[in-house]
């Protein structure tokens, strides 16, 4: 693998980490499988691309990405709350609807190139004049995103949101409108996803209406890979570390993908490779369990002789 490929993986991983934070918020914090992601990430990219290409500030474009995508999340939440549609199905419905809406947003073009337009990455590169400008920018944005999410989850409102994912009965018994929390949570989650989409468009100078396929799976894989790695070291992982783990997972995913490509897999097999990586990531949970079981049976075996007699100490 070349240095450039590794650098690219890190740069992309930092963006995908924001997507993974959004997925963490819905799948983990709210305990709701939300498939809106595959659509809302394109919404974010489309909003960003259309605004950048029409000469608007890249930062304003990112704000629009966040807001429009969070609206998509709000619709999913409302379908669930008001019409009692299962979250999984509600997400799929919105994802489907977004395909058309994203095309409209992009002016009926299936892709928009930003090669001629100003993006955050370009202006930052012009400002710092470094080969690592994209990396630095990614770290800055991801840090802001992670820290704001961390602080939010530790506010009174954040507590109520987290508890909603844990136990709705308790939350309602504590005077919290659990439906409002779901609405807030899914909006915020998709907001993060949209932000990732917006950044992706500006990083690649390109937005494509098809780019969302499989994004939710990638996000989920990042969450699980990160969790699995950190849970090997400690049993109770503090919240901030859990959020950081998500980013580690996202970067590892990109590295694995780059590695597969460098081994000679054609780029058209990218989605296949993604699926395989995700399947491996998902199975780490099972593998960890069997690993732990082995550990336990091993220790219980080694306890036996000690119980039987003093001879154990002699060895």
């Amino acid at each position: 693998m070349t240095i450039t490929a590794i650098l690219d993986s890190f740069e992309l991983g930092l963006i995908y980490a924001i997507l993974a934070l959004g997925v963490f918020l819905s799948f983990r914090t709210l305990n709701t499988p939300d498939l809106t992601v595959d659509g809302s990430i394109v919404t974010g990219a489309a909003a960003s691309a259309i605004l950048c290409s029409t000469g608007h500030s890249p930062l304003v474009a990112l704000l629009a990405s966040f807001i429009l995508a969070s609206l998509a999340g709000a619709v999913t939440a409302l379908l669930n709350i008001k019409l009692k549609i299962e979250p999984l199905l509600a997400g799929i419905l919105v994802m489907l609807a977004l395909y058309s809406l994203n095309l409209r947003l992009m002016g009926s073009r299936s892709n928009i190139a930003l090669t001629q337009s100003n993006t955050l990455y370009k202006s930052f590169h012009a400002a710092v004049q470094s080969n690592y400008s994209s990396l630095i920018l990614g770290i800055i944005i991801l840090s802001i995103a992670t820290l704001s999410l961390y602080f939010f989850l530790n506010t009174r409102l954040g507590f109520a949101l987290r508890a909603t994912g844990d136990n709705e009965y308790m939350v309602r018994a504590s005077g919290v409108n659990s439906n409002l929390m779901k609405l807030l949570g899914l909006s915020l989650s998709n907001g993060f996803v949209g932000l990732a989409g917006g950044l992706l468009a500006q990083y690649q100078s390109y937005s494509d209406v098809q780019m969302g396929v499989g994004m939710v799976v990638i996000g989920l894989a990042s969450v699980i890979v990160g969790e699995t790695i950190f849970e090997l070291f400690t049993k109770t992982v503090p919240l901030l570390i859990r959020l950081l783990a998500v980013s580690v997972g996202a970067i590892l995913y990109r590295l694995a993908l780059a590695f597969a490509l460098s081994c000679g897999m054609p780029a058209t097999d990218l989605k296949l490779i993604s699926a395989v990586i995700v399947a491996i990531a998902l199975s780490t949970g099972v593998m960890k369990d069997s690993f732990l079981k082995k550990k336990i049976s091993f220790t219980s075996n080694s306890i036996k002789p000690a119980k039987d007699g003093e001879s154990y100490d002699m060895h």
Binding site: F152, N154, T155, R156, L157, G158, F159, A160, R162, A163, G165, D166, N167, Y169, M170, V171, R172, A173, S174, G175, V176, N177, S178, T236
Partner: protein
């Protein structure tokens, strides 16, 4: 004061499974009163509590809390005045959050939830001091996750959370049923301690008839969605489990066994 007027609740209206779970239930509770509720399975005890807490919508009748008609209030809005402990120890707490975080959520029941700190230093100190009243050593485990607690500890914590902000009404639905006898006794003792407050109304469902007569100030018996007995004072003091069974031909095995 809590006033229940002609409450009706029908499940599955118009279907083959139509069930009149509450029929014309009226009840007035005065502050300081502690009502124990008994009755066979399916008598409507839980339904009555669920109608009070807003989990279930009523089909007819009104519920007043201090002269405010709360019949149409959603569940979360009523929760500001109502504390609850469920039968299932898993239902009362957020398991993946710490003890102090759970307490903070319960403590902010009637406050605005915005971007303030989830839990302040002052609150932590306050919780710590109050938790020691439970005598379970939970005050030294405030930063541990609730999922590490035993069922009894969770019920005690849930009970504590329920009374933390001085509710007007405390609803306990068989809250000791899932606990072993010693722990159940401990939680019942705590219940007595907390319910002994001048302006709190307490309602406790139990299948243990001697507990029902020993705890509280008033006992009601429900059957097929109606209140068929309502005793307090001297009449209640003279009541025994044997008399209850004789008088009401209670045939519930689960009740007789105890």
């Amino acid at each position: 004061m809590i006033c229940i007027e002609h409450l009706y609740k029908i499940f599955g209206y118009g279907t083959v499974n139509e069930k009149l779970a509450l029929q014309d239930v009226s009840l007035t509770m005065h502050p300081g009163e502690f009502i124990t509720i008994i009755g066979s399975n399916g008598a409507g005890k839980s339904t009555l509590m669920n109608c009070l807490s807003g989990v279930e919508k009523t089909d007819h009748g009104n519920i007043f809390l201090n002269d405010i008609n709360i019949t149409k209030y959603p569940e979360h809005k009523r929760s500001r005045y109502i504390g609850r402990v469920f039968q299932d120890p898993m239902k009362g707490t957020a398991f993946d959050m710490t003890i102090e975080q759970n307490l903070a959520i319960a403590y902010n029941k009637d406050k605005f939830r915005g971007l303030q700190k989830g839990i302040s230093k002052k609150e932590k100190a306050f919780f710590r001091e109050r938790l020691s009243l439970l005598g379970m050593g939970l005050e030294d485990r405030m930063t541990q996750k609730v999922k590490l607690l035993s069922g009894g500890q969770r019920q005690a914590l849930t009970l504590f959370m329920a009374i933390l902000v001085n509710p007007k009404l405390l609803l306990l639905d068989e809250h000791t049923a899932a606990l072993d006898p010693a722990t159940a006794k401990k939680v019942l003792d705590l219940t007595d301690q907390f319910a002994n407050s001048k302006d709190l109304c307490t309602m406790m469902i139990t299948h243990n008839m001697s507990d029902a007569l020993r705890h509280g100030t008033r006992t009601i018996l429900m059957d097929s969605g109606r209140i068929i007995m309502d005793i307090s004072g001297e009449e209640r003091e003279k009541m025994t489990v044997e008399k209850l069974i004789e008088q009401f031909e209670i045939q519930n095995d689960r009740m007789l066994l105890k």
